[in-house]
């Protein structure tokens, strides 16, 4: 029965998304209430899922279904445009135009890939080895930090124009964290 609870609760996030869309559609005195009501219903759906589907399982199930129903609502509101008429464009942000310099490209790739990975691994290792708490918890939390920090490092190094600053920070983080981890060296 419990999988069906997810379906039974799905009208709540749907109603929440409808309220948010009404707030988005047009300005009105009720707009703050619609926004508060929309988010409130989404929170209520997550809260209601806890006793019905489990403390950890319910919220994840509701987040998944809330994404689904919100996207369905967006799709339902599709605005068809005439392909022949090209719409007037606002000044949309364009990616910054960087000078194409070969060594900078290679260095940027090295920073985003191996070096950010080593720095992230160093942070994860430092947590796994040096942080307080049970061994398994330190290892799993440290392990989960690795992809997250690596991703953050990738995003930063690929967008930061001050490439030498990024190099210095990543090298510094790698040296400090890996040094601490290998110096302590025992769980």
């Amino acid at each position: 029965m419990s999988p069906l609870w997810a379906l039974a609760l799905s009208p709540l996030p749907l109603a929440g998304a409808v309220l948010l869309k009404r707030a988005w559609d047009r300005p009105s005195p009720e707009r703050p209430w619609l926004i508060a009501g929309g988010w409130g219903l989404l929170v209520l759906a997550v809260a209601a899922s806890v006793p019905l589907m489990g403390a950890a399982r319910g919220p994840f199930a509701m987040l998944t279904l809330a994404s689904m129903v919100a996207l369905a609502l967006v799709a339902a509101g599709v605005e068809r445009r005439n392909a022949k008429k090209k719409a007037a464009r606002e000044l949309a942000p364009e990616p910054s135009d960087r000078k194409r310099v070969v060594w900078r490209g290679w260095l940027r790739g090295f920073l985003a890939g191996p070096l950010a990975g080593i720095a992230a691994m160093g942070c994860g290792l430092a947590v796994a080895i040096c942080a307080p708490g049970q061994i398994q918890s330190r290892m799993v939390i440290g392990g989960l930090m690795v992809p997250f920090l690596w991703a953050g490092g990738m995003a930063w190094t690929l967008s930061d124009d001050k490439i030498l600053r990024a190099t210095a920070v990543l090298v510094g983080v790698s040296v400090v964290t890996l040094g601490a981890a290998f110096l302590k060296g025992a769980l």
Partner: protein, 503 residues
């Protein structure tokens, strides 16, 4: 994400001041540059991993579809599980280990996996009495699962590349959110037709924003699962002089000393299951991993699933006399162990029954289309700036639609010929991508979608014909119907996008 948008039309009322803080334009532009570079570098890999992951959600159901004649069992007695175990052990009494899978809602079958005397691996299905009824032959299900987890490469390399792809996806999510200052202002804007770039940008941004919780969960858990080997390897290097087994031992619960002397009697699966039922009345055993059967050091790791929990289950270690030695702690241990136990269910959507699986399939395909539209936006931007890349436009369109076609053709081939599905998939991917040489993007897209639709219908028909009169598992019918429905959607999409006659 792309920041493209249009000026509001007169009919559209203004939506008021944005509540998102003003982000400096230079920062947005720099983030977009990084987002583009990363997306383009990993586009094909992210696309394959996302597409294959969406399909892999239904791995168990595909296994049932491939052999729909096998007995559907919702429960089996401990004695039946024991009988199946002994029957497989009798085929190779020196087996190092045996893996017994008990019926579950998603996989209502009793099976035992083991190796033969020559080292070949086999999985046998059993009926409700534990009598073996035939060998498991699910080449296509195995193909698609392996493509997602290791890209059919050696485990260490494949896992690393898939994990790195997860990191790149996670990074794209971070840079995409930071480069999208109109996240609330455009929250429900979805315009189709008109400017190609605007259309793709709306599709890209809406799916990205509303699917963000799902995208973050699957990319983080996927990167973690893929990079496990390397993370544990480095950890072991720092702490155990490179001995990874010591690192893994922290997650395997009570250990049983290896003792190869013959045991007085072979481990009793029925007794183990009965003991566990008495100790854990609310839990259901989902599988048993029996090591060194017939030796004095024989023991089993039993996974127990409790309804309503997110975790993959608690693992209990039992010795050769069916005595419970203790739990690993996936549900009762440290925070780390409990988090670890949720990684696989969260990544594959195996925690909330079929509604969550369907949602994972659709959201996964949404993420796949985000990848596809990201490259399309870049190509459209080049075209808008007067620097079109027509060859890449054709190649990308062909590659995108090569994957559904490759899956459809390999599924059909797996039903009728003994060719490895990965070879068929690879050949179809190459051939479909090669259409870029001759056709326009629109023609490639339409032709490959129609071909996929045709092969999906053919797969369903051949599946029913091959298994005529012996389909015992209703899931097989549901999948056949879903294949036909997918074919109809694809064909319909071609019909809707056909050029309209002008008045």
């Amino acid at each position: 994400m792309d920041g493209s948008t249009t000026a509001p039309t007169k009919a559209k009322p203004k939506v008021g001041k944005p509540i998102w803080p003003k982000v400096p334009a230079e920062f947005v532009r720099a983030m977009l540059a990084g987002h583009s570079a990363l997306g383009l570098a990993f586009a094909a890999l992210i696309y394959v991993v996302c597409f294959s992951g969406s399909i892999a959600v239904f791995t168990y159901e595909f296994m049932r579809w491939e052999q729909p004649e096998r007995p559907v069992l919702h429960e089996v007695s401990p004695q039946a599980a024991d009988a199946a175990f002994r029957a497989v052990l009798a085929k190779n009494p020196k087996a190092h280990d045996l893996f017994i899978r008990l019926p579950e809602p998603s996989s209502p079958r009793l099976s035992v996996h083991g190796d033969d005397a020559q080292g070949g691996e086999h999985t046998w299905y059993a009926d409700a009495t534990g009598k073996l009824v035939g060998e498991q032959k699910t080449p296509w299900s195995t193909f698609q699962a392996t493509l997602h987890t290791v890209l059919h490469l050696p485990r260490a390399w494949g896992g690393f590349i898939v994990g790195l792809t997860g990191v790149a996806l996670l990074s794209s999510l971070v840079s995409g959110v930071l480069s999208h200052p109109r996240v609330f202002k455009d929250a429900f804007a979805f315009r189709w037709g008109g400017s190609k770039r605007l259309q793709e940008a709306d599709l890209h941004n809406r799916i990205s924003v509303w699917g963000l919780p799902f995208h973050l969960i699957v990319s983080l858990t996927g990167a973690f699962l893929g990079l496990t080997l390397i993370i544990v390897g480095v950890l072991a290097l720092a702490t155990f002089k490179g001995d990874t087994s010591k690192a893994y031992a922290l997650f395997t619960g009570p250990s049983v000393k290896d003792d190869p002397r013959p045991a007085a009697k072979v481990i009793d699966i029925a007794a183990i299951l009965t003991n566990l039922k008495a100790r854990y009345p609310d839990a259901r055993a989902s599988y048993l991993y029996v090591e060194h059967p017939g030796e004095t050091g024989q023991h089993a790791s039993v996974n127990l699933v409790t309804e309503g929990r997110l975790s993959r289950g608690e693992t209990v270690i039992v010795d050769g006399t069916a005595k419970i030695l203790g739990e690993v702690g996936y549900e009762s241990g440290s925070v780390g162990l409990r988090v670890l136990a949720t990684m696989t269910p969260l990544h594959f959507g195996w925690f909330g029954g079929w509604p969550i699986k369907v949602a994972y399939l659709l959201l996964g395909l949404g993420l796949t289309s985000v990848t596809s539209s990201g490259v399309a936006i870049w190509l459209a931007r080049r075209r808008d700036k007067g620097r079109p890349a027509p060859r890449w436009e054709r190649v990308w369109t062909a590659f995108v639609w090569s994957q559904p076609l490759g899956y459809a053709v390999s599924a059909l081939a797996a039903l009728v010929v003994p060719a490895p599905p990965v070879a068929v998939w690879g050949a179809v991917t190459l051939l479909a991508t090669a259409t870029a040489i001759a056709w326009t993007p629109k023609a490639i897209s339409a032709a490959l979608r129609l071909a996929t639709a045709g092969f999906l219908v053919l797969t369903a028909i051949v599946h029913v014909a091959v298994n005529a009169g012996r389909i015992a598992d209703p899931v097989a019918w549901i999948i056949d119907a879903s294949l036909i429905a997918t074919a109809a959607i694809l064909a319909g999409s071609v019909w809707l996008s056909r050029p309209k006659a002008t008045a």
